[in-house]
Assembly symmetry: C2
Homo-oligomer: 285 residues x 2
């Protein structure tokens, strides 16, 4: 395997079950352009969304250990809502570097956006069943209603991000969620996209929500929190305001546990630039 | 683990990456009601449809060995199109009992149904990219055009088997497939459902195909071939004509590598009866 980064430039490890987390990496690149990044997608075992806590924790810690031990990551971002919801503690126990998930940043951004204190969260099955967003929101004084939207990831991966079928599926899910909110006497004004695939649907979703409802992108929220956290931990890390400017110095290495062809083909949609050569690694699964 | 079946009743092992293969088990139960069945769904690692040949072969042989070594299966049915397409040879090398996949039975049924000799196949990404159906069809003198339909499995698992969104997705996929067939100068009269999830969409698909087009269910075709094969191999196996009558003697044990709750909840839709208690096994992945 490669040697740990020998320079003073920090290496930030980013982990996802697939390549959805590249939306978080994109947001990180905009904010911390002079860091080095190692991204691993555990594509041999995706999706995590339908798996149990025990299985997800085992898989996620293997990827986290790869980033720290073999890629020399000094910070980790768990760019996967399901793993953040179900395995953050296990990952923090397994490695000795700071680890940031995406749930709490998403909840914090919802806290900042909401005036009514009632928020909606859409995510995968496992994230919703963990009720991690509801717990994180409750800790911030928010009431959250969560809904699993299992068709949205396949629709994004099919490339139907601006398609009438996807608009109809989003309408059905949102109608069900808003009806349930009304039944529970909630007055939601904020919708959290609790899955890193969903930022690709943000324009479509923003057109579908009731007038005035804020849409929170968990990828942006996590990158914002990561930039602040890393600056706090290590003032040598250069942070900049987000822009779509690509830094010439940012180095990104991408790894996958399977199917690098699919990663390379689909990943660029999420990273919004070519992902380059994706290296295959075997985590023993 | 349990003891191998001590009686003369044969044990038939049925394997799938998930629970879609329960449609094959349902068809087997109708034809070989006095056998004992052990079914394993490798739910910790599904879906296979987006994974590489190497990974699929490793996973599938572990499940096949579990059925033979720990459940005493004397025959195996690979009730998973992706594993049949990519790992049948590896499984046959790894175990010493007869192994039947679903690809060749599907192709044979298409051969029997087609008058023009041109057939269409819909399946997962990995099955299509393997071109296993095209090869099996070509060996029988058929020309086959294959299309990946990655949204259909999630739609079935969402329970939208008779839903306007699913009808629209099927219409889009079939329109694209028929247009491509016309471009290639084909005159298809038969559509093969090359994924064990798709039988749940058969009524909807049958309403969507052009008038006169035959729809071949790979689950039914595989069970029909299995019944004939097992009778040929062992004339003591009682075979009967398919009926929806449930045999009081058929014994079914179901295993999963993860998430038995989801298996139990969704599996009954595929088996068309309650799946009972699903036992969790760890294949080390």
């Amino acid at each position: 395997m490669s040697q740990p980064n020998p320079t003073m430039t920090p290496t930030i490890g980013v982990f996802d079950s697939g390549f959805g987390g590249l939306t978080v990496l994109r947001a990180l690149l905009q904010r911390i352009p002079q860091a080095q990044f190692a991204f691993i997608g555990d594509t041999a075992r995706l999706p995590y969304g339908s798996k149990s806590r025990r299985t997800i924790a085992r898989y996620a810690t293997q990827s986290a250990q790869f980033l720290v031990r073999e890629q020399g990551a000094q910070y980790l971002v768990i760019a996967c809502n399901t793993a953040s919801a179900l395995a953050l503690d296990a990952i923090q126990d397994a490695v000795s570097v700071p680890v940031l998930g995406v749930i709490e940043p998403g909840a914090s951004a919802a806290r900042a956006a909401s005036r009514t204190g009632d928020v909606l969260v859409i995510a995968t099955d496992a994230t919703v069943h963990s009720h991690a967003y509801a717990a994180a929101c409750r800790a911030l004084g928010l009431r959250a209603l969560e809904k699993a939207c299992p068709l949205l990831v396949p629709l994004v991966e099919e490339g139907w991000t601006d398609h009438p079928v996807t608009a109809e599926v989003v309408r059905i899910y949102l109608d069900e969620l808003l009806a349930e909110a009304e039944t529970q006497g909630l007055n939601p004004d904020t919708l959290v996209l609790g899955c890193t695939h969903y930022p690709l649907l943000r324009p479509l979703i923003a057109r579908s929500v009731p007038h005035g409802m804020q849409v929170i992108d968990s990828a942006e929220a996590a990158a914002e929190t990561a930039a602040r956290l890393f600056l706090h931990l290590d003032s040598q890390i250069p942070i900049q305001h987000p822009s779509e400017e690509r830094s010439p110095t940012a180095q990104v290495r991408c790894f996958a546990t399977d199917s690098v062809e699919k990663f390379e083909r689909l990943g660029s949609r999420f990273l919004n630039r070519p992902v380059g050569k994706v290296e295959l690694v075997d985590l023993g699964g």
